[in-house]
Symmetry: C2
Subunit: 433 residues, 2 copies
Amino acid sequence: MTRIVAVDVHDVRFPTAASGDGSDAINRGDYSATYVELRTDGPHVGAGFAFTNGRGNEVTCAAVRALSDQVIGRTLIGLAEDPAGWARTLTADPQLRWLGPEKGVIAMAAGALINAVWDLRAKAAGVPLWQLLAEMSTDELVACVDFHHISDVLTPAEAREILDRGRLGMADRLAVLAADGFPAYTTSVGWLGYPDDKVRSLAREAYAQGWRAMKMKVGGDLDDDLRRARIIREVLGPHGWLMMDANQVWDVDEAIAAMRRLIEVDPYWIEEPTHPDDVLGHARIRRVINRLPGARCRVATGEVAANRVIFKQLLQAEAIGVMQVDACRVAGVNEVLAELLLAAKFRMPVCPHAGGVGLGELVQHLAIFDYLRVGAALDGRMIEYVDHLHEHFEDPVRVRGGHYLVPDQPGYSATMRPASIAEFAFPDGPAWR
Amino acid sequence: MTRIVAVDVHDVRFPTAASGDGSDAINRGDYSATYVELRTDGPHVGAGFAFTNGRGNEVTCAAVRALSDQVIGRTLIGLAEDPAGWARTLTADPQLRWLGPEKGVIAMAAGALINAVWDLRAKAAGVPLWQLLAEMSTDELVACVDFHHISDVLTPAEAREILDRGRLGMADRLAVLAADGFPAYTTSVGWLGYPDDKVRSLAREAYAQGWRAMKMKVGGDLDDDLRRARIIREVLGPHGWLMMDANQVWDVDEAIAAMRRLIEVDPYWIEEPTHPDDVLGHARIRRVINRLPGARCRVATGEVAANRVIFKQLLQAEAIGVMQVDACRVAGVNEVLAELLLAAKFRMPVCPHAGGVGLGELVQHLAIFDYLRVGAALDGRMIEYVDHLHEHFEDPVRVRGGHYLVPDQPGYSATMRPASIAEFAFPDGPAWR
C-alpha cells in the first residue's frame, strides 16, 4: 500500500528568453517549471509540474507548498477510491479556493500535484497514463470528474454514455495509432522573433521532415504577419494546414479586421484571437469569420482557459471550432477529463496545446486517451509540437513524419532528468549562478 | 518629487475561523491581508492590501514581491503621467502575465500595489481618494483606464462622455452624501454558522440601529435557508430589503430550483447563485427568475469576478441586475474604474462587496466616486457592511443609521494600525505563537 510521504518542489528555469524562441505577441520569457516530486514509501516517485514563463515561478512553487498537506500521508489506494473527491480537496479547499477560484496560480499548483498523483498511479500500474485511463471502467472514469458547475450541460449519465460508446472500436483505433502515430503540427517555424529567411528555411526543413501542418505567430505588424504567412503557405502548398496564433493580443474588433486580411492565405484556424476569458467575444469573431467569402477558418482557444466552466461556455456559445486543452493550466487530469467529455458532447475536435516545458510529453497521453475512449475520432485532431527542451525529460516525446509516436514507458512522461533539475535550479543552479 | 524606495510586504492573519463569523456556503477561513507598504523618500507611506481567507496568504505575498520591481524607483509624478501604462507594467508583464492572465493571485497582487500607489497619491494630495478621483479631469480619468479587450463595448470616447456628464450636478450629489451618508446594507445578521435565535436577535438589533437592508447567506440546507429568511423578513417587514448570497455553491439548475422556493420571502437579489466565471449560467438564472410570478429578485455577482472582461460579458449577456465590484480582487483602482464605466454605459447599479479585512474601508471611496462622477445616481446603490476587524485600521469606516459617513482623511483608508500588524503577523506575531 504505497503512501505519499513528502512533496519536493523545485524551481527550474531554462534561459530561453535570449534566443527569441517562444516569442509571440504577448509572451517572452524563460520557460520554467514548478516541478513536483511525490516521495513515497514504495519504489516510485510521482512527477508533475506547472509550466510558467520565468519570473513568478516561485509564486506557483509557494502555491504547491500551500496545497501539499492535502497529498502528504494519502495512500494510492485511498486516492483511487474517490478521485473527484480528493481532487476537490485541492480545488475546493475552503481557504485556498479564495485565491482563484479554480483559476490562475492556484489551479496550476493543483494541476501539478494532481498530475503527479496520476504519474504515480500509472507507474505503479506499470503502464503509460493513456493506457491506464483508456482501460479504466466507465464508472471509474466518471468517478474522476467533478460535475460541479457543469451539470447543466453535462450530466454523469451523459458522460457514462460517451465513455461506454468509446469502448467500441477502441482496439482498431489503437492499431491506427500504433501504425501511424498521432497527427501533429509544428509551431517551430514561425515565432515572431524570427526573420523571413529563417521562417522560409525552417518551413522547408519541416516540410521535408513530413510536416503538413504548421502554425505561425501573428498579432505583430499586420503586413509582417501576412508576408510571413505567404512564405509558409507557399512552402505548404494549397493543401497543407496553416494555423495562426495571436496569443490574445487583439481586441474583438481588431481580430475581425485582421482576419479579413489574413484570410487570404486560407488559415485552418486562428488561435487566441482575443482575451481568453471573452467567450462572447470569441463567439462574435467566429460568426464574422464564418461569413467571409470562402473562409474555412476556425476559431481556436483554450491553452489558458481557466477551467471547465469557461470551456462549457465556449461550447454553449458556439464560440470555437477547435478546442485546445492544456495539461498544466487547469487542475490536472481530472479537470481535463471533464473538458474532453464536454467536447465530445458537442462533437468538438480537441487539439491540445504543447510547447513550453514538457507540455508535449503530457498532452500526448491526453490526446491518445481522447481518441481511444472519448472523442473517438481523429476528424482534425492534432497535437502541437515545439522542438524545445525535450532533452530534459527521461521519456521525451518521439516525433516522426509529423506524428507523435505512442509513448510506451510507465507513467505520464513527466519525469525530468536529475541533471537538468540540478543544472537549471533557480537561482542556485550552475546555469543561473 | 516623491520616489518609492522600497516595498514592504506583511502576512497578517486574524483568527476568525473559530468564531463562525464569516462562514458561508463555500468559505470558512481566517480573514487575512497581504499588506503592502510603499516606502518613499517623502513624508508618506502608501498602503494597500489583498484580502485572503487564511492559508495561502503567503502565496499572494510572494506574488506582490514578484511584482515589486515594477514600482520601486518610480516617482509619483511619473506614475501619474501614464496611469494605465504603469498599471499595465503589472498586469501585462510578459513573464508574470502567464500566471493569470489578469486573474487570481497575480491580479490580487497587482491590485495591492496599484491601490497602495493610489493611497500614496491621495495622501500626497491631502485629500481622501474619492475626492482625488472625483475632482480629476475627464482626460486624467480616461488615461487611467486600460481599454484593452473591452473596446468593443466601451470606447475612450464613450468613457469621456460618461465622465463629462458626471460633472453635472456633482455638488448636489455631494451635498446629499454629506447630509445622509451613503446607503448601506448589513451582512452581519445571517452567516450560515449562526443559529435561529442569534439571527433573530441580530436582525432586531440591526433594525433598531436603522438598517432596512440585510443580507443573509444561503446555499446550505434549503429548509434552513427558508426558515432563517422568514425570520429576517419578519423583522424587516414587507418594505425592507432582504438580500441572499449563495457564494457560488449551486449549479445552474440547483440555483433555479432553490430560487423557486426562496422567492417566497421576496428577496431583492440573489448573489453569486453559481460559479463566478459562468456568464451564460447567470444569464439563464436571471431569465428564469424574471418569469417567476411576482418576482422582483435581481441576480448579483462580481465580488470574485476576475477582471473587466468578465464584467463586460455579464453586462452584454444581461446576466445581472446588480453589479458588485471588489477593491482587492482585481488589479486595483484602475481596473475598477473600467468596471464602473462599463456599468454606467449599461445603466447598471453598482453595489460594492465589502467585509473581509478592510474591504469596506476601500470600497466606500469607490462607491462615493461612482455616485459623484460615473453612475451619478443612487437608484439602489448600497455598500455592503460587515462589522468585523475595522478596529485594525487607522481610518476605519463610520456607519450611522444604515449609512456610511463620507471619509474625510487623506488617502484610501487602507492604513493598518502598526500594533495590529505586529500582533497578527503570521506566523511569528503574538496572536499566532
